[in-house]
Amino acid sequence: MPDPGVQQQLHHLYSHHYGWLKAWLRKKLSCQHTAADLAQDTFVRLIVSDKKPLPEQSRAYLTQIAKGLMIDLYRRQRLELAYQEWLLQLPPVETPSPEQQAIALQSLIQLDKVLDQLPAKVRETFILSRFEQLTYSQIADQLGISVAAVRKYMLKATQACMELL
């Protein structure tokens, strides 16, 4: 059960900040519906994070969350477009089913997130192995690291994929 104090605090935040936040997002995105969705998501994110900003910091805090969400949205749109374009280049017979498309796009978006959290070397190693089909020795040569390091990085990246993909 949520603590009534917290609930009241959230209600206060929402009633004081939803309006300007939505207007601000709308200016940035120039789409009313997306702005409303993102403003909503911003509060959800705040609630889930369990942090309670001090009243004088609320505005800055919400703006920061909203910026993060806009960046995510922007990334997602870019990835979606890249995927759509790839689909269009396929011969019709090879076009995946709508269900497969949805899974693939979701995987792409997740993978982007996973890789973003990894150190550059790990990410590089993983892409060279999984998407450029290089062997571990080739990767080691390419990046000037040992094969043992390649294995270590692959394990780290694969673990992250297991958790998030």
């Binding site: 940035k28 922007y74 995927y83 995987s107 060279l128 294995r151 694969t158 297991m162």
Partner: protein, 322 residues
């Protein structure tokens, strides 16, 4: 007692998951020996729990396989580290903007999205700044305004702007436009700045503008009626202005322009993508076209040239030879 054995089972299973991951990493090496392959099969056949742990890894692996190679460039492109870029260039894997993903244009990424002023595709907007200077923003443009006690700085992240400056009463702060290629400082003036992928093009209508490359090594003053480009660490030659600023009147002016260049230009004003066959790219177009009605422009091309236009959807247009 019972509780104790449950914990044991859980620990064992997470150990199996870890082992399954390690096998996967080994199998991905591209250099698996017959012995290793055999050892893996022995491991896998040891129990149902082993197979269960392995099938979880397989689900992940199948999802990875669904991610098209063609889209991974974007994921990779997120990384600005210079060293990484060099390695990728060496492998011929870099450079994703432009060709591969046409809708993502010459922008500074998320900064463009979070900028102070922003226009969307096909939108133009006029902004009056605090000192009375005027800014007209062309399609898909984002600008940050960074006025300080010392200077009036505009940061162009993406797109194109036309600036009419006014004297800064009292403090005489210089007005300058910054892009990733360098700065353009107004010397009492009207001028246009367009950020492209490889250069920032500055053309002067009135007065003069001083260009300085981002490394600070090169500068150049351009007079009215002239234009030049800021490149990374260099400046281009000065040439006379053409009809670059026709966008201010909502027009696209083509004088014997290659159709490919024309369509690239037009696509700046249109949501989605315009693609074209190389066979039509070298046809020539002349005329004055209304920028903000790109559908009409496409239709009028059909009357002038032997073309066929396919619409996959409103956002996916392909131009072929008829």
């Amino acid at each position: 007692m019972n509780q104790h054995s449950t914990i044991n089972v859980v620990t064992d299973y997470s150990r199996l998951q870890q082992e399954a991951l390690e096998w996967q990493v080994m199998l991905w090496s591209g250099e698996v020996t017959a012995d290793q392959q055999h050892a893996f099969e022995v491991w896998l056949s040891r129990s149902d729990a082993h197979q269960q742990a392995w099938s979880e890894v397989e689900v992940m692996q199948q999802k990875l396989q669904l991610v098209p190679h063609a889209t991974i460039g974007l994921v990779k492109n997120r990384l600005p580290s210079a060293k990484r870029r060099r390695v990728l260039q060496m492998l011929g894997l870099a450079a994703v903007t432009g060709g591969a993903v046409p809708v993502v244009r010459q922008s500074d990424g998320w900064q463009a999205l979070a900028a102070d002023y922003r226009t969307h595709t096909g939108q133009q907007e006029k902004v009056v700044l605090a000192d009375g200077s005027e800014l007209i923003m062309n399609t898909s443009t984002s600008v940050d305004i960074a006025y300080s006690a010392r200077e009036r700085r505009l940061v162009l992240h993406e797109g194109e702007i036309y600036i009419s400056t006014v004297a800064d009463h009292g403090s005489n702060r210089p007005l300058l436009v910054q892009t990733r290629h360098g700065t353009a400082t107004a010397l009492g003036t009207k001028f246009n700045v367009r950020l492209k992928h490889h250069e920032t093009r500055v053309s002067v209508d009135e007065g003069a503008v001083k260009l300085r490359s981002s490394n600070g090594l090169h500068d150049l003053t351009i007079a009215s009626g002239m234009q030049a480009g800021l490149l990374t660490g260099a400046l281009s030659k000065v040439t006379a202005n053409g009809s670059e600023n026709a966008w201010l009147d909502g027009k696209l002016v083509a004088e014997q322009l290659r159709l490919g260049d024309f369509l690239d230009e037009l696509s700046r004003y249109r949501m989605g993508v315009i693609r074209y066959d190389q066979t039509v790219a070298n046809m020539l177009v002349s005329g004055v076209f209304p920028l903000l009605d790109t559908d009409r422009v496409l239709q009028s091309l059909l009357q002038a040239l032997p073309l066929r236009i396919d619409y996959f959807s409103k956002y996916w247009v392909t131009v072929h030879a008829s």
